[in-house]
Symmetry: C2
Amino acid sequence: MPAVSDRVVTQEASSISGMNKGLGLLERAAAPEEIARLGWNLLREDLSLPSAVLYAEKMRHNLDWMQRFITAYGVKLAPHGKTTMAPRLFQMQIDTGAWGITLATAQQTWAAATHGIRRVLMANELVGRENMSLIARLLEDPGFEFYCLVDSAELVRQLGAFFRARGQRLRVLLELGVAGGRAGVRDDAQMRAVLEALEEWKDSVALCGVELYEGVLSQESEIRAFLRRAVEVTRRLTAEKRFERTPAILSGAGSAWYDVVAEEFTGARLGEAVEIVLRPGCYLTHDVGSYREAQARILASNPIARQMSEGLVPALHIWAYVLSLPEAGKAILGMGKRDAAFDSGLPVPVLTYRPGDAGPQEAPAHWTVTKMMDQHAYLQIAEGDALRVGDMIGFDIAHPCLTFDKWRVLPIVDADYNVIDAVDTYF
Amino acid sequence: MPAVSDRVVTQEASSISGMNKGLGLLERAAAPEEIARLGWNLLREDLSLPSAVLYAEKMRHNLDWMQRFITAYGVKLAPHGKTTMAPRLFQMQIDTGAWGITLATAQQTWAAATHGIRRVLMANELVGRENMSLIARLLEDPGFEFYCLVDSAELVRQLGAFFRARGQRLRVLLELGVAGGRAGVRDDAQMRAVLEALEEWKDSVALCGVELYEGVLSQESEIRAFLRRAVEVTRRLTAEKRFERTPAILSGAGSAWYDVVAEEFTGARLGEAVEIVLRPGCYLTHDVGSYREAQARILASNPIARQMSEGLVPALHIWAYVLSLPEAGKAILGMGKRDAAFDSGLPVPVLTYRPGDAGPQEAPAHWTVTKMMDQHAYLQIAEGDALRVGDMIGFDIAHPCLTFDKWRVLPIVDADYNVIDAVDTYF
């Protein structure tokens, strides 16, 4: 059978509809390359705001920063693609040296594979007939490498039955978990049950490594203990010859604790028998919420990060218009819960621009978003601030994942706010 | 110039990509009619979960209920389309008797017009060059009827300059607001400034009515006072012959207070000179959050609603798999903040189904979603509950607007869970 990517991507590849928000007027769908040639400029008001704008140079900086960090530790990077779900950004990550792309669901994997991603770590349990069907279809292409997680004997049985019936073999990692956390085996008894089921379904489910997500914990000491447990399990299962892959995979790390995971996993000196794969996803655009806090800790405490130049920088802004200044001290913005994450801090105004002016100014530090509705935000300003209906404001955001998923296309701009590319998303 | 709908819709109409979540495996894009012919059934696991599923009969009930309510009051319905942003649902609303569709942005208007919607009330200020360009392009079609809001002299000036330069005339409504609220003129001085600007730009900006959004208030007495102010302003401006449309439009009503708006506006007996337009949007799928509460109040207190049969019913479920049962009393679900609204109540489990069983069962009342992450939910259950990895759970949701915008396509099922149609969205 031809690979899915051969069959589908040619038909559907990155055809950006003119009905998307955040672009200029397009009377018909256009490829990103066509959009890049239209000569749009954010400051010339060529975009219909609100728009989620990516800064090319800042993304480049972040891509390079993380890859240098990963390389310094001698580990592998499989950035979590659920953050952006933008295959064109996945390709930039692969081109910068990523080992593969991490994803969370069968549909995300399908969308990535359709766009040519060849190695996916699905850091989640694969459950349900049609989800398994999507993966089985992708596995018909022998060049497509795929891993997902198991944490129960029941799931191993369901996967085993499904893939055995198709004469296929699914590669899995054993997920470890902690009490009070998300999925993952909590203790040795649960682990033994999963290992027994794996033994039974060996022909169709191949254990290839160990996985955890430390981000369900918040204390560094707990996280280090959890990581050491994963190292210990990996050692034990290696000794027991449980893994069907050499090297076995040991994978952890969200966007907040990747430094600690790198330290612990490399510090364990597992050698050639184990390949360490880290999965931060938010570094590409960064944020000014919890990931900025995490980055401050990393820059202060991690010996490798300390030696590197400037850390990660925010590379995504939501730009919106002032719609109304209805009372003293308040502006109403054309940006809402449909446009930016609001679950771990509201957007932060950083730039302000009046069309026709030479360039944006820094937004006053006292401007604060106090409320968001579906399509509007309330901005608290001071009486007498020079703000007018039609002024544009650029906002930093907190939580890239829940910002990206509100946009089907994001323009990429250069330092002069020219639109030089656009990426489409597949949420 | 040809209408945008003639030029665009034929090319792009409702081609549903196989890369969307919540569908079955599609190797290439398909029209909704093709999807309806695939014979998919939710309970046979033909869909990749999570999926947002619309129930055809329940939507039909809600469509009819609201239209009967509106007709009983002798007013007009312009359902807020921002809720679903699904032009196929807009068309159902129009076919059931809606006067037009309400929208919140120029891009939403563009998407609706492209799909053949001919009358749009944009219940928002139109700000920014490219947003104005989108509307100007649509107005080249004389059959497209469009209204948006103004609440400042500055905005009237900007709109006037833009549309005068194009030899076009934009129809606007005066937005009234309240202290502490969103946009809208607060007092007579602000209103006079807007009216003066309207006088100056009369050739390119035509005042056609008065608008408010009472949902920024929460007390019925305040809401009634605000509505009476709108009636009084409408009377005054009619007497002053300020309106360029006969009848003038008087519009209010979100999904929580439409009964009170209908009562106050019709009770004012404004006669033939005024057309009353209400804008609830959430009635189509309803919810089990704030709109269920609002509906309970309406059914208890509104004389027309009291006479009608069963009120609005929830017509949208998120279906998700149990991925893991990692510890006593906890299930991990494959549904997260990317799949359902979480800002005004978490999803509520209502149905549970084990593939192969005859049909879904009611979910036990003690099951509760306690936490949502990007792609997962934690479900609190009781020890010993008969739940297994691979079981499907159907969830009611709170806040349809922030649920719809997480889906690019939603299957519509009949009472036997057969997929009989699908609607695509344009967020």
